[in-house]
Subunit: 211 residues, 2 copies
């Protein structure tokens, strides 16, 4: 290795995650949504983000829109690149958690090993895996971007659920069945999970609701 950066030492930042927790009244974590295309990952993430914003809980969503056009625009869709895509997302989520935010990731993330690598990074209850479960028939019926149609016509290779596998989570923290639950039910379920598991402390937050 060349260059001065080889001399890297871990040290605690002056403002720690602990400081942020004490000050802001909520604990940072990543809510990792996984599921087929059109299962509802981004929609639920955005609805939850809105609710958290009302409570002044800082949150952020990492999704294809802001990741594939930016940080990961050098990556394609080969198996190596897909794994690298999820690896980087896990690392960025880890930075956001360190910064004290509740960060949501909304990617298909079809492979168990890739998701588990992210889980390993985010130890101590900081990784909440949410399986957004929806039968592929329902997803392809919704098909908001018309991509299932293309995939079924063979115009898209390695399409998750059709020509490429989706590995269901074995022990996700949460399962949301979006063919049976409304968006409001999903959002409420997640919010209750965060409160019951003490990620957010409502008694600390109620006096500073966003008007």
């Amino acid at each position: 290795m060349d260059g001065e950066n080889r001399n890297i030492y871990w040290h605690e930042h002056v403002v720690t995650a602990e400081d942020r927790w004490t000050t802001y009244g909520y604990k940072s974590c990543v809510i990792w949504f996984t599921g087929l295309s059109a299962s509802g990952k981004s929609t639920i993430a955005n609805a939850l983000c809105k609710e958290l914003h009302k409570l002044k809980v800082k949150s952020y969503i990492l999704d294809g829109d802001n990741i594939r056009h930016g940080l990961n625009k050098d990556l394609g869709f080969s198996p190596h690149d897909r794994t690298e895509n999820i690896r980087r997302i896990g690392e960025v989520a880890n930075l956001f958690v360190d910064a004290g935010l509740i960060v949501m990731t909304a990617f298909i993330s079809p492979f168990r090993e890739d998701r588990n690598n992210a889980r390993k990074l985010l130890k101590g209850g900081k990784f909440i895996e949410v399986f957004v479960k929806c039968p592929i028939q329902e997803c392809s019926r919704r098909d908001p971007k018309g991509i299932y149609k293309k995939a079924i016509a063979g115009e898209i290779k390695e399409f998750t659920g059709i020509s490429s596998p989706y590995e269901e989570p074995q022990l996700p923290e949460i399962i949301l069945e979006t063919d049976r639950m409304t968006l409001e039910e999903c959002t409420e379920y997640l919010l209750n999970y965060l409160i019951e598991n003490e990620y957010i402390n409502c008694s600390k937050l109620t006096d500073r609701l966003v008007k």
Copy 2:
């Protein structure tokens, strides 16, 4: 390209940067520190982070500690990898700005082109370049990690300022001369800059100082 992710559309998140600004009373931006090793980048960034935390302004530092061990651990120190290192840092900084934080980056970032690429990403006054200026004689005298000693002995190749160039910023927003200014002076200067340029709105913040 294969895979469903090719169908990516830009869309506004439900909670916008504007919403966050209205709610939190400060504007997100990146404060991009650049300068030789041991010039004081991380020290100043940490001091400023502490002051911002007191004002409940959420900030975060990206530095070698959290980037080179994680997101960029696949990168070495070749010219390509150094450029890719800074590219990814710019992209991650951009995500943090989008999330509403004041993010600081503390990397030597010796090449003008790499820094300017980050600047291009962060348009509209979101990029504040801070040249942490310190003569190399003073940096190598400080030498907290003993790496100047190694570099001068030829044990480290391509060491910025010794065997690899440092391209000074031509029009940085701020220059801090750390051989002439104290840490307190540097921190105060930055804080005043953020107030005067309306990144932080003190009248909105004074009622919620961290006890």
